[in-house]
């Protein structure tokens, strides 16, 4: 099953936690590295639940951070592309990756 890009969903095995105002951490079993995200990115990661559309996520980001709608949408698409390429979205395969 391919991921629904209009309602993106983080990998169901991932765990994440915002930390203070600095951003947050994301871990995925089978991945050697813990991913460190900035505040906007960790907010977005929390919204990738398959229930929020790209537009709704951009609404939230532009409300919370000082960024234009166009920039936010472009950044969001590129962030989601990056997560997908790292196997961190649902349905993107890579259920269990090689240990490093």
């Amino acid at each position: 099953m391919s991921p629904r890009i209009d309602y993106p969903q983080r990998h169901p095995d991932s765990s994440f936690r915002p930390i203070g105002d600095e951003g947050g951490l994301v871990v995925l079993p089978g991945k050697a590295e813990v991913k460190v995200l900035n505040p906007a990115a960790i907010t977005i990661f929390g919204l990738l639940d398959g229930a929020h559309s790209l537009d709704q996520i951009v609404d939230k980001v532009t409300g919370d951070f000082d960024v234009s709608r166009e920039t936010a949408m472009a950044d969001l698409r590129s962030f989601i592309g990056e997560l997908a390429s790292q196997g961190m979205l649902a349905g993107g395969g890579a259920e269990r990756q090689e240990q490093t």
Binding site: S15, I19, G20, P29
Partner: protein
């Protein structure tokens, strides 16, 4: 917007923030004191009270998850001896927490068990290995056949592609076979942590300390063997739970906490001052900020750091307030084990001519 750059620096800075702001990233949950081993040094001290029932464990896990804990370790006792282990571990995952399992590995020698473990997608499984041969391992566990079962578990987990860390507390039984233990770990491509600290029992009984190797061993270990066993890495000069240079000696009451099978919450697995019982509170937030015990323990962590900083050899100490309290009745008292280790670590740094702050070699 995206990734702030990976690598140790970004992660370390995040961990330091969590430490400074007392954001607990991890929790250990001793879900039962039941066990299929009889390790002579085991620190567990069951009180005879009734252990939590599974719905109560679920209720507590929900509170822990709502509080924002990222890494949840299921331990014990032997967590796999809990009859609802898989349900509980599944709930940890369902709540979105990253799962770690501490186990003696005995039951994981069964491929069906490993299959069920893999389905839980644990971030990490930590297996205790007490020697490189049955005689030494079983001198501690007192269970015949336990060495072969544990090694078999390691083999199966490795074949399944599970990330595993091996743990080897150093005792008189295994002190002469650490390199062979390392060989077993190497065979499966796993990391092994040698733990030089044997703690008293949680109830204060110092019996386990008799299994501690003697000072001559530790001098050799810190000065020579540690570096060889750890691929050239230098001995630690700070507790693993407190980044070097932070204001407190350890992460107790800051970066994590421990829960026992009765629902009691403690600042750390080794520092058993009761903070409260999670069955009796609605939210962990209600006690994390205001608990006098937590405030006291956080303050003690700073006092201990200050005390060590005033010592000429203070920067060579790894120091556990819990061990100090159980062993000497004072969490700030310098216990002999810590002093011996610090002396040997210092010597190691001096022998290698390592400059103190940078960790760089000066010659």
């Amino acid at each position: 917007m995206g990734d702030q750059g990976q690598g140790k620096t970004a992660y370390r800075s995040m961990v330091e923030t969590a430490f400074a702001q007392s954001v607990p990233l991890s929790a250990q949950f001793e879900i039962t004191y039941r066990c299929n081993h009889l390790c002579t040094f085991c620190y567990n001290s069951p009180t005879g009270q009734r252990e939590l029932r599974t719905p109560q464990i679920f209720d507590i896990l929900k509170k822990v998850s709502d509080f924002g804990v990222l890494y949840l370790t299921l331990t014990g006792g032997e967590p796999l001896c809990h009859r609802d282990f898989y349900k509980i571990a599944g709930e940890v995952r369902r709540l979105g927490m990253a799962l770690r399992i501490y186990s003696n590995g005995y039951l994981m020698s069964d491929p069906k068990v490993v299959e069920k473990i893999m389905a839980l997608k644990p971030l990490e499984v930590e297996i205790s290995l007490h020697g490189a041969r049955p005689e030494s391992h079983e001198a501690l566990t007192k269970i015949k056949g336990s060495f072969d079962k544990t090694v078999q578990a390691i083999e199966l987990l490795s074949r399944a592609g599970q990330k595993v860390n091996l743990k080897c507390p150093i005792t008189r039984h295994n002190q002469d076979e650490l390199f062979e233990v390392r060989k077993i770990a190497d065979k499966y491509g796993y990391y092994v942590t040698f733990d030089p600290v044997i703690t008293p029992k949680d109830d204060g009984d110092t019996g386990p300390l008799s299994l501690r190797p003697d000072d001559a061993f530790f001098t050799r270990y810190w000065e020579e063997d540690y570096i060889k066993l750890h691929d050239g890495r230098l001995p630690p000069r700070a507790n693993h739970c407190a980044p070097e240079g932070t204001e407190a000696v350890c992460g107790a009451a800051r970066t994590g906490f421990t829960l026992d099978p009765y629902g009691n919450m403690f600042p750390c697995v080794a520092f058993r001052r009761k903070i409260g019982n999670l069955l009796e509170i609605d939210k962990i937030e209600d006690i994390w900020g205001d608990s006098p015990v937590l405030a006291q323990v956080r303050g003690l962590g700073v006092d201990a750091r200050d005390k060590l900083n005033k010592r000429e050899d203070g920067k060579y100490f790894t120091f556990c307030m819990g061990v100090a309290e159980t062993q000497l009745g004072d969490p700030l008292a310098i216990y002999p084990q810590a002093e011996t280790n610090a002396r040997a670590v210092r010597q190691a740094y001096e022998l290698l001519k390592i400059e103190d702050e940078s960790g760089k070699k000066s010659a």
